[in-house]
């Protein structure tokens, strides 16, 4: 019965979606809000990656809101984990073999370097704070899986995360302090295409990368720590 109702409902949703989707033209040029960003983005912000310009400069305030959503989710996760404090029963974790251990130890700095590169070059090439932060977090995931027992201190990840958020807000408030708008780009734009250019976009992307990387690392750390205490 429940399945029947679900499928009927699904059929209705599918019909509506199909009718609306088939009206949208694919790949046709039209009235786009992005035209202004594409045509004027390099002049106005100095970043050659227009997506970075949109994320950090044109929609910077939204990005601040989204980063705070991320922070709220991580905070809720920590609260839920801390809700039930089970007693520590140390089940012996079998260590990974020597090959895996050495391989992870070798690959970890390489992936970390790639993540940092992606964060720093966010305003020039595809990439940026969100992608680089995700790559950094996946490097820590590799370390947690390959080298069991090694663990970054919780205070460190929490501190870095707070530092990232604080940096973002401070950079935004600086624009207010010097008498302009929130997130005003107070640094010179420089020549588009150089590493040091585009005003405060690289700085904000670094803050975002720091925040996203430490946030996701903290989430993985919570999950793995919770798993290790499994009472068998």
């Amino acid at each position: 019965m429940r399945k029947l109702i679900s499928i009927i409902l699904l059929g209705m949703v599918a019909t509506g979606l199909f009718m609306s989707i088939s009206q949208i033209p694919f790949g046709e040029p039209g009235e786009r809000i992005g035209d202004h960003f594409i045509n004027q983005g390099v002049n106005e912000t100095g970043a050659t990656n227009i997506v970075a310009a949109v994320v950090v400069s044109y929609r910077g305030f939204d990005t601040l809101g989204e980063v705070s959503v991320l922070f709220t989710a991580a905070m809720g996760l920590g609260a839920v984990i801390g809700l039930v404090r089970r007693k520590k029963t140390h089940t012996p974790i079998e260590p990974a073999s020597l090959i895996v251990y050495t391989g992870c130890r070798f690959l970890f700095p390489v992936i970390l370097l790639v993540g940092t590169y992606i964060v720093i070059h966010g305003h020039l090439t595809p990439g940026g704070g969100f992608q680089g932060g995700a790559v950094i977090a996946s490097a820590f995931l590799l370390m947690y899986l390959g080298c069991r027992g090694k663990r970054i201190r919780e205070n460190l990840s929490r501190g870095l995360e707070s530092l990232g958020g604080l940096l973002f807000i401070l950079l935004g408030v600086t624009g207010l302090v010097i008498g302009r708008d929130f997130l005003f780009s107070f640094l010179p734009e420089g020549e588009a295409g150089n590493l040091i250019s585009a005003g405060i976009i690289p700085l904000i992307y670094m803050a975002v990368g720091l925040k996203v990387g430490s946030e996701l690392t903290g989430i993985i750390d919570h999950l793995i720590e919770d798993t290790d205490e499994l009472p068998e």
Binding site: S97, I99, F106, L107
Partner: protein, 108 residues
């Protein structure tokens, strides 16, 4: 130079094809892991290097990517094989030799 790169890509693609046939044909997990690892490591290495030879601007980037594949692929396959051995997945009936207990015997 471009023809040399194309030849490299062709050899790599052939190795990848052989590897996928091996994954399809081999009888048990361990043989499949072996076929997959050896052929895909060499195949993807040659393909990536070939791309770098065809486009000389990208040569150093492709070299780094190829080295990364060269390190990560055997390690992950080793982890897979060890995990499946830990789960006591049985070998193929006609397997000849099994030295797992000999190597891990002193740990138990």
């Amino acid at each position: 130079m471009e023809i040399f790169g194309m030849i490299l890509i062709g050899i790599g693609a052939a190795f990848l094809l052989i590897g996928s046939i091996g994954i399809y044909r081999m009888p048990d997990v361990y043989n499949r892991i072996q076929a997959g690892t050896k052929c895909t490591t060499l195949g993807s290495f040659l393909t990536i290097i070939g791309v770098g030879v065809v486009q000389p601007d990208w040569f150093w980037k492709t070299l780094i990517i190829a080295l990364f594949v060269l390190v990560s692929n055997p390690v992950s396959s080793h982890a897979l094989g060890r995990a499946s051995r830990k789960k006591r997945i049985s070998l193929y009936d006609k397997s000849v030799v099994d030295k797992t207990d000999e190597f891990t015997g002193q740990q138990k």
